[in-house]
């Protein structure tokens, strides 16, 4: 998500599931939608049936998506940037890119400051001591008025286009094959299909999921994909885009509403140096970089003020910065992402932990470290449908002894665990936000069983109790709680309809707002999440709509549920048209300029502004999409870096093998292994039969896949004398797991730098509690994270394999 925000302006799937039917080519990479998004995958199948779309699958495994694809290419886990960089090279070399598109809608023409360069694995500005970049040379050359200089001919040697060409010169098909392990022929075959969409009358989409996000260079990886799509003119176009498939029913909603990385609506977290609202706004309200940039984030003060007003109600006023001081601040350079948070817990600096719909023992990397971290807590509250591995972590040794050798002894654990039974999704109403950014309201199907309570009631009861204690006993900082607005009909269990209306926002008179255009920075509007503004206007709950009309015929379904932002179905839809407002492919544009206004989908543009008035990417200060993204930590152009644990040193630059900025910890439990001891590449993944670590509690999924297994390539199995069903032990520097081997031809051995590389596949889903049980795969995975997003590297780590 972080990457798409940097490239396009919003961290979200650009198009949507239903739009995939418009694609001519569907590239599935870093995802396996046939298995993990089978319902969304119907649109892929529809595209294939209706318009004979070509499906290309690039994956370490010949999975169920590959089984129905037109072209499958195997690859080594963690080499996606090399592959995509190769595609960029292929498109540039063979002139398959959409030249008019990139001139108009990207920063290809922007000039970069003198001094920018890339050498031996590092970009300019590398500080070897601090292990950070000084990014000053990565900036645009200024014209003196704060705007970037451009060369519309794209010929200036320092323009983004030429720099990009130079950067990817090294990514020839042969180089890609040598890194990724496929053959150059296979690469070329896929490249020809994918790059065929560079023509204005073709569009291609990319579907990806955790196979891209779970790398130590994930954000760079996704930026590479975004660059490719921009080059091919596939962004903003129906049937195009870079489409992130989210892993949980409402993970999109949780990101939108704010997690450790942001406040609701992707507003940045206040940091310690932002001591007042004004300072916060100054730091987080960007200035336009081109004269025609709409720079929509210049409205940040309206969004932030309305959010504070929603939080603190009558306590939020101009004179107290609308209660800004009540917000917790993180340190100037603090990282609160998962890895850092649990590292701090592991070091003993966290006292209590509220685990809400989250099972860190199962889904966090490096289980031994995770267990150790929880054992350092004084107390932990787990809110769940079932007793999870996290709730039972203190008993892991006993429950898991069948699967692991060394877990911590419960005798030494002092953590007090409270397990609160929570209602499951079918037992409560509210909205799910899907990958397509659709907010879909649902009703409760059945009441929660026994003492289970809906989440909001659990939160409300905790909140009210803590506030009562503050009122009675005082404390260090009672104000944030005492000033929190809590005006619900039933304070102990606010109805989700009330909360949804509050999130949408209202004015002082209590009138529901129609959209974020009505938000003000003077405290006259309150809005819980500006991007959701419009989901519940005076007219009622838009999320509950189920209209199936499709006036454009493009599968936009504007009256079905409600899509953020502003019910816009395809983001950046202005980019589907040329400078004059005419669609690159007149048959395939979701908005049309009729001379007065834009019609069709909600325009991602000012509805009555002329095509020439603004750039198409209104959320970015550039006004155009970024091929060159200086806000990414490792460099403005993605470079292939090996995973933290790699079977070979980086063939491009051996000295700087893996991501120099990856978050790697140095504790006793944060071990990394080398290819000498752990010669095989492992990947973990999900199966269609299960959902994460939840369905192992369920009868049906328990029948469909009852057993944990390890997928072993046939050739490796032969070498080791392993037959299908034989028990094997997989060991990494962190720990080991044991289970039956599934000997398969679906994971091919690969040739990398002349060496045969075997990959081993390990599905997740099992654990030491539940109806069907097995080892926790994360016993193997490293605690290494992407520096931008904080996502752990589950794909491509090193293991050894033995027959038991």
């Amino acid at each position: 998500m972080a990457s798409l925000a940097a490239t396009f302006g919003r961290g979200a799937m650009t198009n949507g599931w239903t739009d995939v039917v418009n694609a001519d080519v569907i590239l599935v990479m870093g995802g396996n939608p046939a298995e993990n998004h089978p319902v969304g995958f119907r649109f892929v199948m529809e595209a294939r049936r209706r318009r004979k779309a070509k499906l290309v699958s690039i994956d370490p495994r010949f999975n169920r998506t590959a089984a129905v694809s037109d072209c499958y290419v195997p690859m080594r886990a963690g080499t996606d940037i090399a592959f995509l960089g190769g595609l960029i090279h292929y498109a540039l070399e063979n002139k398959l890119y959409h030249a008019d598109y990139i001139k108009l809608h990207t920063n290809a023409s922007f000039l970069v400051k003198e001094g920018f360069g890339f050498e031996n694995g590092h970009f300019s500005g590398w500080n070897a001591e601090k292990k950070t970049y000084d990014r000053s040379t990565w900036q645009y050359e200024s014209d003196g008025q704060g705007f970037a200089k451009v060369d519309p001919t794209l010929e200036h040697p320092r323009c983004v286009f030429q720099l990009m060409r130079k950067h990817y010169e090294r990514y020839t098909p042969e180089a890609v094959a040598n890194i990724a392990g496929c053959s150059a022929g296979e690469f070329n075959r896929a490249a020809a299909i994918i790059c065929s969409t560079g023509r204005p009358d073709k569009s291609g989409t990319i579907l990806y999921a955790l196979g891209w996000t779970q790398h130590s260079h994930a954000v760079q990886l996704i930026h590479t994909a975004a660059m490719l799509q921009l080059l091919l003119g596939n962004v903003g176009v129906p049937g195009g885009g870079v489409n992130a498939q989210r892993g949980h029913a409402n993970i999109k909603g949780s990101t939108d509403m704010g997690s450790w990385n942001n406040l609701p609506g992707y507003l940045r977290l206040p940091r310690a140096n932002h001591t007042s609202l004004d300072e916060f706004l100054k730091a987080n309200t960007p200035k336009p970089l081109r004269p025609n940039s709409m720079n929509y984030w210049s409205n940040t003060p309206k969004f932030m003020t309305s959010l504070l007003k929603a939080y603190y109600g009558r306590h939020a006023a101009r004179k107290n910065g609308f209660g800004y001081h009540n917000l917790p601040k993180i340190g100037e350079s603090d990282n609160n992402s998962w890895g850092f948070f649990f590292d701090r817990m592991h070091k003993g600096s966290i006292e209590g932990f509220l685990s809400f719909g989250m099972n860190p023992v199962a889904n966090g990397p490096n289980t031994p470290k995770m267990l150790d971290a929880l054992s350092k807590l004084k107390w932990m509250i787990v809110v769940e449908n079932f007793e999870t591995e996290t709730a039972a972590f203190w008993n892991a040794k006993k429950l898991g002894e069948k699967y692991y050798s060394s877990f911590i002894d419960p005798a030494g654990i002092q953590t007090e665990v409270f397990l609160l039974p929570a209602a499951c999704f079918a037992e409560k109403d509210g909205a799910f936000v899907n990958s397509s950014r659709w907010l879909q309201w649902k009703s409760a199907a059945v009441p929660p069983p026994g003492e289970a309570k809906p989440d909001q009631e659990i939160i409300a009861r905790l909140f009210l109790k803590v506030r009562e204690l503050y009122e009675k006993e005082g404390g260090k900082a009672p104000q944030p709680l005492l000033q929190m607005s809590w005006d619900y009909a039933n304070p102990l269990s606010p109805s989700l309809e009330e909360v949804a209306r509050e999130v949408n926002g209202r004015d002082l008179a209590g009138k529901q707002l129609n959209g974020f255009g009505e938000l003000k920075d003077d405290g006259s509007t309150a809005c819980g999440n500006w991007i959701y503004c419009g989901s519940w206007p005076e007219a009622g709950n838009m999320m509950a709509r189920r209209g199936q009309e499709d006036p454009t015929g493009l599968g936009l379904f504007p009256n079905y549920a409600w899509s953020w932002p502003a019910n816009r179905r395809i983001l950046y839809n202005r980019a589907a048209s040329d400078a004059g407002g005419k669609g690159w492919d007149p048959q395939r544009t979701s908005i049309r300029w009729d001379g007065v206004r834009w019609t069709g989908d909600t325009p991602d543009y000012k509805a009555d502004a002329k095509p020439s008035d603004f750039g198409a990417f209104i959320m970015l200060p550039e006004g155009v999409a970024k091929l060159f993204a200086a806000d990414l930590l490792e460099g403005p152009f993605p470079e292939h870096y090996e995973p933290a644990e790699s079977p070979v040193p980086n063939p491009l630059h051996k000295e700087v093998s893996s991501n120099p900025l990856a978050s790697v910890f140095q504790g006793a439990l944060d071990k990394l292994g080398s290819a000498k001891d752990y010669p095989y590449v492992a990947i973990t993944y999900r199966l269609t039969e299960h959902f994460h670590y939840w369905t192992k509690h369920m009868h049906a999924s328990g029948e469909l896949q009852s057993n944990f297994f390890v997928e072993v390539p046939e050739e490796l199995a032969r070498e080791k004398g392993i037959k299908g069903g034989d028990f094997v032990r997989v060991t990494s520097a962190r720990g080991s797991v044991e289970g039956p081997a599934l000997v398969t031809r679906r994971i091919r051995p690969l040739k990398v730098e002349g060496k045969t590389i075997y990959q081993i596949g390990i599905p997740i889903h099992w654990g030491f509690v539940g109806r069907v049980r097995g080892p926790l795969v994360n016993n193997l995975t490293p605690s290494v994270y992407d520096p931008n997003s904080g996502t752990p590297e589950y794909k491509g780590f090193l293991v050894n394999l033995e027959k038991v």
Binding site: E35, P38, F41, V68, L704, Q705, G724, P740, L742
Partner: protein, 264 residues
């Protein structure tokens, strides 16, 4: 006239998600069990008395290309149904007016002949109830105007329910499209050897249905046909002819009397 219903399985759209398996289990209120690992993604090695809809996963190299084929397997509801032919219990297996071949369990005596009679080897004898079970094409749902549970749940439109004539048309059209798209061997599988089945398959490789776990040329086994045809006539002739012959013999020839000279 009631139209013959059918389901169409377009295997080119099957992603092996097993939603149909779960829907079948849920709707038919089957008990869920846990399985043993067998070096495959396939849920069970074969159909079972409490598992009527199984996606078969098979791997083949066809023209040098790796294929992982998935096709759901269940009762085919044949026009000329081997199970009905083989069944000795009147009313235990019936053909509904809409073409559904249905087992009526109160009439089933559990002999298992239908298992042998079925060219697709579909029915399964439950050791618990000593009755035979198989897909009913959700005859209960269909009777109420609903589509079968597997069709309802299929996420990729791989499964379609409707009148057999319509589906046959759609299937042929789809196969034609696939052939135009360069898949020369695409075709429809509907078991002409059993008078046509009410489950139609579109196969990319219709020339090799056995790769999908479907019999190449399904026919009612000749031993069953011989038994239920000529042998039955022969037997009846022997039984009734024998009685008749005895009667005629008795009247015309009569008993053998013991004769006196032997006493000497």
């Amino acid at each position: 006239m009631i139209e013959t219903v059918a389901k169409l399985v377009d295997t080119t759209l099957c992603i092996g998600c097993k939603a149909c398996e779960v829907a079948c289990q849920e709707w038919n209120d089957q008990e869920f069990t846990t399985g043993v690992f067998r070096n495959t993604y396939q849920t069970l090695p074969d159909l079972a008395p409490n598992f009527w809809n199984l996606i078969k996963f098979s791997e083949h190299d066809i023209n040098g290309e790796q294929h992982w084929l998935m096709a759901k397997y269940q009762c085919m509801h044949c026009a000329d149904a081997g199970c009905i032919k083989a069944c000795p219990a009147p009313g235990a297996i019936v053909r509904r007016p809409n073409g559904i071949v249905d087992f009526v369990h109160e009439n089933c005596i559990g002999c298992g002949y239908c298992i042998t009679g079925c060219p697709f080897d579909v029915p399964r004898l439950s050791p618990k109830t000593r009755k035979v079970y198989k897909c009913t094409l959700c005859s209960d749902r269909v009777a109420a105007g609903l589509e079968p549970a597997c069709i309802k749940t299929c996420p990729t439109n791989c499964l379609t329910f409707g009148s057999r004539n319509d589906l046959k048309f759609l299937a042929e059209k789809r196969a034609e499209e696939l052939r135009k798209d360069g898949l020369a061997n695409a075709g429809v599988y509907d078991g002409p050897g059993v008078g046509g089945t009410n489950v139609l398959y579109v196969l990319k490789h219709a020339d090799r249905p056995q790769d999908y776990g479907l019999p190449k040329d399904p026919r009612i086994p000749w031993t069953v046909s011989l038994w239920k045809g000529p042998l039955k006539w022969l037997g009846n002739t022997v039984f009734f002819g024998g009685l008749l012959a005895a009667l005629v013999h008795y009247i015309k020839v009569g008993p053998k009397e013991a004769h006196d000279e032997a006493e000497n």
